[in-house]
């Protein structure tokens, strides 16, 4: 206890000695770890370049304006592709995520000892690996193109959607499920009448949210050849066409803002 008696007066301390020591030890090791890591980064850094950075940034900045507005004609198709990668990828992910979620949820999994761990492994693998890495893999397998992008987005999104969905399934009100079971309903009828209505709002909300994230992600997949506006970004960067880069960044900015607005609208309308 942090309260101690000292001859006449009671001493009050914020923490007792042991917690205080642990507290300082944690801070000490945390700081030491950070400093050590920083030094490792610093060793690999050309500080000469970094010191020069303001000048380079100013130089690039001056090259970036004004944007090359004519270039926009070449951006409509890539933007359409970007939108499709995000949308079709999300849809594909939804289709695949639903069964995974039911397998992973403790209360609906048909085999908690075998299938549930597999489903959880699928979820964590999908979540651990960025869609850009999935694209890298798929471009290497399927060749460059929109298809690789769609599948990459889907593979990355399965884990996200399935995780949030199975958590929702685990939190449902079991009484409602019991009531449906009591009517003599079959297993699939129990799911349709007892579980689906309870998780539908989460499902819709998560889908719209993920679509919004996927728009952002699909803007860069082109950098590794998986289609969309990233291809144009890569091409413009390769020839150092900074005015085109500005325009592309501007278009990405507007697209993302638009998708954010649309998904917020959709969430409000549905939930």
């Amino acid at each position: 206890m942090p309260i101690e008696m000292n001859s006449q007066e009671k001493i009050w301390k914020h923490r007792d000695r042991k917690t205080q020591l642990t507290h300082w030890a944690l801070w000490f090791f945390g700081t030491a770890l950070f400093v050590w890591c920083w030094q490792l980064v610093s060793e690999k850094t050309e500080w000469f370049f970094v010191l020069d950075a303001p000048a380079i940034a100013a130089d690039i900045g001056s090259r970036m304006v004004p944007p090359r507005w004519e270039y926009i004609d070449k951006l409509w198709v890539p933007l359409w592709d970007t939108l499709n990668i995000a949308t079709l990828g999300t849809l594909l992910a939804l289709v695949l995520a639903v069964p995974v979620a039911f397998l992973a949820a403790r209360n609906t999994s048909p085999s908690p000892t075998l299938l549930r761990p597999i489903a959880l492994l699928v979820i964590v693998s999908s979540r651990s690996i960025n869609s850009l890495i999935w694209s890298l893999l798929l471009v290497s397998i399927l060749g460059p193109g929109v298809l690789a992008g769609i599948i990459a987005i889907a593979l990355r999104s399965i884990g996200f959607v399935a995780k949030l969905l199975y958590e929702a399934i685990e939190e449902i009100d079991e009484n409602q499920v019991e009531a449906i079971k009591a009517t003599g309903a079959s297993r699939s009828q129990v799911i349709a009448y007892g579980i689906v209505p309870q998780i539908l709002p989460t499902f819709v909300g998560v889908s719209v949210f993920r679509w919004d994230i996927n728009i952002r992600e699909s803007t860069v997949l082109g950098l590794v050849g998986a289609g969309g506006i990233g291809l144009q970004l890569q091409a413009s960067l390769n020839i150092l066409a900074w005015p085109q880069v500005t325009l592309i960044l501007l278009m990405i900015f507007l697209t993302v803002l638009f998708s954010e607005w649309l998904s917020a609208k959709a969430r409000h309308a549905i939930i």
Binding site: F34, C37, E46, I129, I133, I141, L142
Partner: protein
């Protein structure tokens, strides 16, 4: 009065015109979108073989072949994760304070909110490209990128937490005649601390995954090694790297949920 004999579930969208136009619009979009996906089936067919090889490689990942590259890349990723998370948190806190409408005056609020918006709009890799162009290749550009991305995430969610505090607790501290900093320390901080710790741990996890990606554009970390492996079609090495990433993420998630439970 007669009772109706038929019953159909109420449609989700009641207005039939709107319902049909949304249905037809969606179908039309799907047709157009699917139609615009060009697939070179020959290439896909050839690829299937490589796909199978990759799946097989997962069964026999090759950790040893390029172990020096892998271990150095992973170590660099981890180091970048630590540095960028710490920097990100330190910078996020003042920005979050500025982005809370109940603390900051309007101009400060708008300024901080626009930083958050920019950070959230651009995918990390785009920022990484710009930072590599400005600061040169290497982990420093990566650290800056991930720190910047952390700001958009952490400052936004922390600001939301600050805006949702119980105002009466803060008011009570203000009524004692506290200074602004004391008010922050006693009235606000205790209320948002668990959220800040939880978000920071979550972000540590995300930042590790990001640090694997920024390497693709030369900003340090395991991404470069991974890119090389794919370029050379060394699927067994790539599989080894992916397995290590998954393992570390699993470990991080497990330990962060344990810590989060403790600080509630």
């Amino acid at each position: 009065m007669s009772t109706p004999r038929t019953w159909r579930p109420k449609p989700f969208i009641e207005n039939p015109k709107l319902r049909w136009s949304i249905t037809i619009g969606t179908l039309l979009y799907m047709l157009l979108a699917l139609g615009s996906v060009e697939v070179n089936w020959m290439r896909v067919y050839e690829g299937l073989d490589r796909g199978l090889k990759f799946v097989a490689a997962f069964a026999q990942p090759n950790f040893t072949g390029r172990w020096t590259d892998i271990s150095e890349g992973l170590a660099e990723s981890l180091v970048m994760t630590v540095v960028s998370t710490v920097i990100g948190i330190i910078v996020s806190i003042p920005i979050a304070l500025g982005a809370s409408r109940n603390l900051a005056p309007l101009p400060v609020y708008l300024f901080c909110r626009s930083i958050i918006t920019i950070s959230r709009t651009f995918q990390e890799v785009i920022i990484a490209i710009l930072f590599v162009a400005i600061f040169g290749f290497g982990p420093f550009a990566g650290v800056l990128t991930i720190s910047f991305a952390t700001i958009g995430f952490l400052a936004k969610l922390l600001a939301e937490a600050i805006e949702n505090i119980d105002p009466s607790q803060a008011e009570a501290v203000r009524s004692t005649g506290s200074r602004w900093w004391q008010w922050l320390n006693y009235g606000i901080q205790p209320q948002v601390m668990p959220r800040l710790i939880g978000l920071s741990l979550y972000r540590l996890d995300i930042n590790f995954r990001e640090s694997a990606v920024v390497g693709l554009v030369g900003a340090g970390g395991i991404g470069a090694t991974l890119n090389t492996a794919f370029d050379r079609y060394e699927f067994d090495t790539a599989a080894a790297i992916l397995i290590l990433i998954i393992g570390i993420v699993m470990f991080a998630e497990y330990s962060s949920s344990a810590i989060r439970k403790r600080v509630q």
